[in-house]
């Protein structure tokens, strides 16, 4: 028999609360009421489940209990009684719904959370809080801001949803492409926020889980599948990204035997399905690039011309300097470091640490170790995380040693 402890209930909370909150928001059209009621239901679960054992359908139990709590709350308020008359029909029909909460509820909710009328910060925060079941403190920690600041951000966002009547529904066919983009961007941002910081694992897994949910609910959207494949393939390399002492290991030096084969297999299957569908988009192309990396036995054995062709395609769909920078890295492998350096010189990315890191690497490969040191120093100053800074400082030292006159003699004659 399963031991029902706080950890298990916590895990169920993370898995189920988004579903329950979404269902209650549909019934009561009140985000705060839904959140509070679901929270209360879990408090009751923490008390009851360890003694009584898990109910057959914990998620359904939570939703039903939360709905009853919400109704109790509303009965106590005069405004609530009025609202209750409006939802009475739905509430009466509840027994049918409790067993299988409508999956559409979560889909509706993510489109509300990611409405373009909300700021990007608010979208991410709302999605993690309402759908991901993270506490305000956890969301705050993930974005390195204080809990009161995050609480204020959430209150303001929820107020706007209510005051401006941001709808709770899946957009129609015509608006869907435009409205799906911010949803995918939020999931991608959430994953990336998880590549650093203390709540990293949770955020990455949450992003993958939610993307999986959306992909399951919208099987016809190729870019949703593309994002899921991209996240799975990126995540497959996670075990190789850090060495035993916690320092960063770049793709070139990663121990590929530690890559997660199951994630790679799943990612590959999705990428192949995307190729068959032939509706390319930014996320699908990035997934394809990662699939090529995952296929290669070593950095050197990578099919770089294939990667370069994919970057050419990516640059067409999203012509940003960061994409151009990543394409230049592939150019270096196909046409050599000088060709890549020429591309970098035309990019406006002076404030981006990876631009200087890439430049430093190319300069080093051209034997210009003095210039490489300066570029590594600049990159280290701009680095976004401690792990990256430590890594870049290490490269800086190597470049300095190579630039040293004692080592430089041979270089002059070459």
């Amino acid at each position: 028999m399963v031991v029902v402890d706080d950890a298990l209930i916590g895990r169920i909370f993370r898995e189920e609360s988004g579903r329950s909150v979404a269902t209650l928001i549909r019934i009561f059209a009140d985000i705060d009421l839904a959140e509070d009621a679901v929270q209360e239901a879990f408090t009751i679960a923490l008390r009851k489940w360890p003694a009584d054992g898990l109910p057959p359908n914990p998620g359904g139990w939570i939703t039903t209990t939360a709905r009853n709590r919400a109704i109790d709350h509303l009965r106590r308020e005069s405004r609530g009684r009025e609202l209750l008359d409006n939802v009475a029909e739905i509430a009466d029909a509840q027994p049918r719904e409790e067993a299988e909460p409508v999956d559409d509820d979560r889909l509706r909710l993510i489109f509300t959370c990611c409405h373009p009328a909300l700021s990007i910060e608010a979208r991410v925060a709302l999605t993690l809080r309402l759908l991901g079941g993270l506490t305000t403190a956890e969301v705050a920690r993930a974005f390195l801001i204080t809990e009161p600041t995050m609480a204020k951000r959430l209150v303001r966002a929820k107020h706007k949803i209510r005051a401006a009547h941001i709808p709770y529904r899946v957009p129609g066919e015509a608006e869907l492409p435009e409205r799906l983009r911010p949803v995918l961007a939020v999931l991608y941002l959430t994953y990336n926020a998880g590549t650093d910081g203390p709540s990293g694992d949770g955020l990455r897994h949450e992003a993958i889980r939610l993307t999986r949910v959306i992909a399951g609910l919208m099987p016809d959207e190729a870019e949703v599948a593309g994002l899921l494949a991209l996240l799975l393939l990126t995540e497959s390399r996670w075990p190789a990204r850090h060495s035993a002492d916690g320092s960063l290991v770049v793709l070139r030096h990663q121990d590929r035997s530690t890559w997660d084969r199951a994630l790679i297999e799943e990612g590959h299957t999705i990428v192949r399905a995307c190729l068959r569908r032939n509706q390319p988009g930014t996320y699908q192309i990035q997934a394809a690039i990662n699939a090529v990396h995952a296929d290669a036995e070593s950095f050197e054995a990578t099919d770089w011309s294939q990667i370069l062709a994919l970057y050419d395609q990516l640059l067409e769909t999203s012509p940003t300097p960061v994409v151009a920078l990543n394409r230049a890295i592939a150019v270096a492998e196909v046409h050599g470091p000088r060709a890549a350096l020429d591309i970098l010189d035309g990019l406006q990315l002076a404030e981006y640490h990876l631009f200087h890191a890439a430049r430093a690497d190319l300069l080093g490969r051209l034997g210009r170790h003095d210039d490489a040191s300066r570029a590594y120093a600049r990159a280290a100053t701009l680095a976004a995380s401690d792990a990256e800074r430590t890594f870049l400082m290490g490269r800086l030292e190597t470049a300095r040693a190579l630039a040293d006159p004692a080592h430089g003699q041979g270089e002059l004659s070459s």
Binding site: R79, H115, A117, R162, A163, A164, H165, I166, P167, P171, E175
Partner: protein, 120 residues
């Protein structure tokens, strides 16, 4: 039904070439057509175009006295130039009207929700 204010703004100093009567007519036709569309959809509550900021006056209290002065109260580069008040089922519906307006006038439009007097 929620109400929204759709407001357009004029930028101080950005005077346009004065239009001929004919041009004015031509520019107004699609705007009038859109207003008719709003009315037949039951969305239109009120709309107006305002004179330029030089024509505005301010009335305010100074101690116990009422003081009337020239010009808009807010010292800003942008001033209210016109507005619609519409009724819409939700923000998406309001935004779709705003999209139609901004296409016609080629300048941004703000969408403000009304405070619901019923207590929402």
């Amino acid at each position: 039904m929620p109400r929204y204010l759709l407001s357009t703004h004029s930028v101080a100093g950005a005077t346009r070439e004065p239009m001929t009567e004919e041009q004015m007519q031509k520019a107004w036709q699609p705007i009038q057509a859109l207003e008719a569309e709003m009315k037949s959809a039951g969305a239109w509550v009120f709309s107006a175009r305002l004179h330029d900021p030089d024509t505005a006056s301010v009335v305010r209290m100074s101690g116990d006295e009422i003081v009337t002065t020239d010009g808009p109260f807010v010292e800003a580069k942008e001033h209210l130039a016109g507005f619609y008040i519409i009724e819409a089922a939700d923000l998406d519906e309001a935004l779709s009207w705003a999209t139609k307006v901004t296409r016609l006038i080629s300048s941004p439009i703000e969408v403000w929700p009304f405070v619901d007097t019923a207590g929402g």
